[in-house]
Symmetry: C2
Subunit: 411 residues, 2 copies
């Protein structure tokens, strides 16, 4: 039987009613509201021919056993940021659930391959600052050593919060066993950006997640009195930073999908009557091509040194964090493109700027693709996050089509 997309929308609305307040969704991982969302989800499984269990990292697995142990995984996450939207994460879980229900019915509880739906634990990292928690444990890229001592804003330790959810931090690596005979992983997510809306397309195919270079850049000049210091003798750290803030834009615009952002500028002493002596900035650069990303970084570093010299300043760089680009599987990208075209008429391929659990699954060597649904105004992590109803319906139908194509390929 065809999927019933209206049932998915009703599920999303029911979940919102249970786990959002007037400020938005409150399904922060490892909190009672998140556990309530998961309990609600499990209650939906009653009467279906599926098994359910939590793995060693707290990921929630729903398994529809097939003729073969070869496995197709569908997944996303039920957790949200504080004051989050009604679609980020849970759309993927509930669209996957609708696909699973349809396959269970069509194949009388026994499809040709095993179908599993996963709700990853703590994709957002909103409480402890460690995102992609469960999927990275699954992928084996997560060592708990660096995160053991994380605390939330109330001083509660990660380890203690996890114990309250029946997860032992010492054992999260055991989640790797869930990889089993996984042959493919599919994830549906809202775009969280404006690209599909500007193209007036409901759906898109994700090529991979961009690599990220994230740096702190500080310019050192000379604090001086704004009234008594002639323009010609100033060593203005803000001027050097302002030049860089503008220069990163042509550097990024050379490449079609690259982005570069100066998100934070702090001035010291930061008073109206003093030339800025020190200016602390941050830079975030992303691209799907590792070579492009490396050349952008080198250009920005070179430009910063030139601007520092021009302004009689010095400049210091310090890497905050980085990750390599993670390209998705070409065959699955082709299936996804077909599925989107069949359901929505036209498709568009785009990289994802934000990271997703799918990137961790890809790092485990499992073929992966994601499908994006249009986001209105590109808003996310915000209660105003929204997607047109008709686009949500197309999304569920296209995701079902993608799952069936992938299943055929795995048989």
């Amino acid at each position: 039987m065809p999927v019933d997309a209206r049932r998915t929308i009703a599920d999303l609305e029911e979940l919102r009613g249970l786990t959002a307040d007037e400020r938005g969704a409150q399904r922060i991982a490892w909190t009672p509201t998140w556990l309530k969302a998961r309990a609600w989800f499990q209650s939906k499984l009653a009467g279906l021919p599926v098994e359910h269990h939590l793995d060693a990292a707290g990921n929630s697995w729903t398994t529809l056993r097939g003729e073969s142990d070869r496995t197709l995984i569908l997944g996303s996450h039920l957790d949200s940021v504080p004051n989050g939207g009604w679609l980020d994460g849970c759309l993927g879980v509930l669209a996957g659930f609708e696909v699973l229900r349809g396959l269970a019915e069509d194949f009388q509880g026994r499809p040709p391959v095993t179908i599993r739906l996963v709700d990853w634990a703590d994709e957002e990292g909103a409480r402890f600052g460690r995102s992609l928690f469960g999927s990275s444990a699954f992928a084996g890229t997560h060592s708990i050593q660096a995160d053991r001592d994380r605390t939330d804003r109330d001083g509660i330790r990660l380890e203690d919060a996890l114990r309250g959810c029946q997860v032992d931090v010492e054992r999260i690596g055991d989640a790797a066993v869930e990889r089993g005979q996984a042959g493919a992983y599919l994830e549906m997510h809202i775009e969280q950006g404006p690209v599909l809306e500007r193209k007036q397309l409901p759906l898109g195919v994700v090529l991979g997640t961009k690599g990220v270079e994230r740096h702190a850049i500080t310019f050192h000049g000379q604090e001086a009195h704004s009234g008594s210091t002639p323009m010609a003798v100033r060593r203005d750290a803000l001027a050097a930073a302002a030049k860089l803030a503008l220069e990163i834009r042509p550097i990024a615009k050379k490449h079609p999908d690259a982005v570069a952002t100066m998100g934070s500028v702090k001035t010291f002493p930061g008073i109206v009557t003093a030339v800025v002596g020190r200016c602390e900035t941050t830079l975030d650069m992303r691209d799907l091509d590792a070579g492009v990303l490396a050349s952008m970084l080198a250009e920005a570093q070179q430009a910063s040194r030139r601007f520092a010299a021009e302004e009689g300043c010095t400049v210091e760089w310090s890497r905050i964090w980085s990750i390599e680009p993670i390209p998705f599987d070409p065959r699955l990208i082709a299936f996804c493109d077909e599925a989107v075209r069949e359901i929505a008429g036209d498709s568009h391929r785009l990289p994802s700027g934000p990271l997703h659990d799918a990137a961790e699954v890809a790092r485990a060597g499992i073929p992966v693709v994601m499908m994006f649904t249009q986001s209105l105004a590109g808003l996310s992590h915000n209660p105003a996050e929204n997607t047109r109803t008709e686009h949500l319906e197309l999304a569920v139908q296209a995701f079902d089509r993608l799952a069936r194509k992938t299943m055929q390929w795995l048989v």
Copy 2:
């Protein structure tokens, strides 16, 4: 007899020993350390043919009566900022004191005109945020209404702190009576800037204090995810602000003495992963010519609107504070120039970017001039503030020369 500049330096060192700690001078107005500095100064008057009193605003007056009531006023301030330098303010008081001592001796306690030395109360405004307190009360430009409810960081009210120093806020306007038959006002001060040092000149003649336009400028764009928002669709408030930070420099550089400073930039949300949605900046522009200052402001406003439009942003301006340029007296400027040339060989005329008590005295219609002494590295409001000993000696000698020329003119 000639002035003994070494005595002035010894006085400065004695005052530093009494009122500075390892972090610098602590003579903040209306505090015990300031009262200690003033008591020390009064103790120096013993045996001199002078009268001393505090006026209604707390200004400290030392009067050497002359043959005529026509009065030459010498002055500056003993108060300092927290962790201040050893010269800012007190050099002018103690150089003036040395001149007064010399005149008292030369004229056997009865010079042809009356000579008065004033130590203005609270030039810095360091504790309550209201600078030029005593001199503006003298000039009649200070209404206490706007300042009555000021408090210090401990919540102590201005009114209560003043009462502890025998000043009644309701009566500060009575300080106007001190104007009497004032014919001229002379003030010596360190430059607090790098101009004289760069010209390798010990002394300079101040043309007046620059007018100031001080504004808060906020650019409003659109906060957006740094990973998912393509460069072409961003509305980056920081980019518009960066353009303005750079553009104010050519605007100021069109005029020889004009300055323009963006001293503070704040970004919101101000995180590494978000395009800046709102950018709050400050602008401080100064020039000695009111027409130049007005045209600079108009150019900056126009540029900000152009940059906002280019970046898909809007811009809001709000005036923080402004003051018109205050030119000093042309005859006194000529006397000061002569005095500096006679003592130091060469002179230089420059406007003052910082405000001084002299500006308030000029607003009262009294002819005014200031003499500047070179500052090392332009540093001030800082314990590293310093001036070469030989320059301090030249300063006292030139200031004495200026006082005698002015006295002859007033006779």
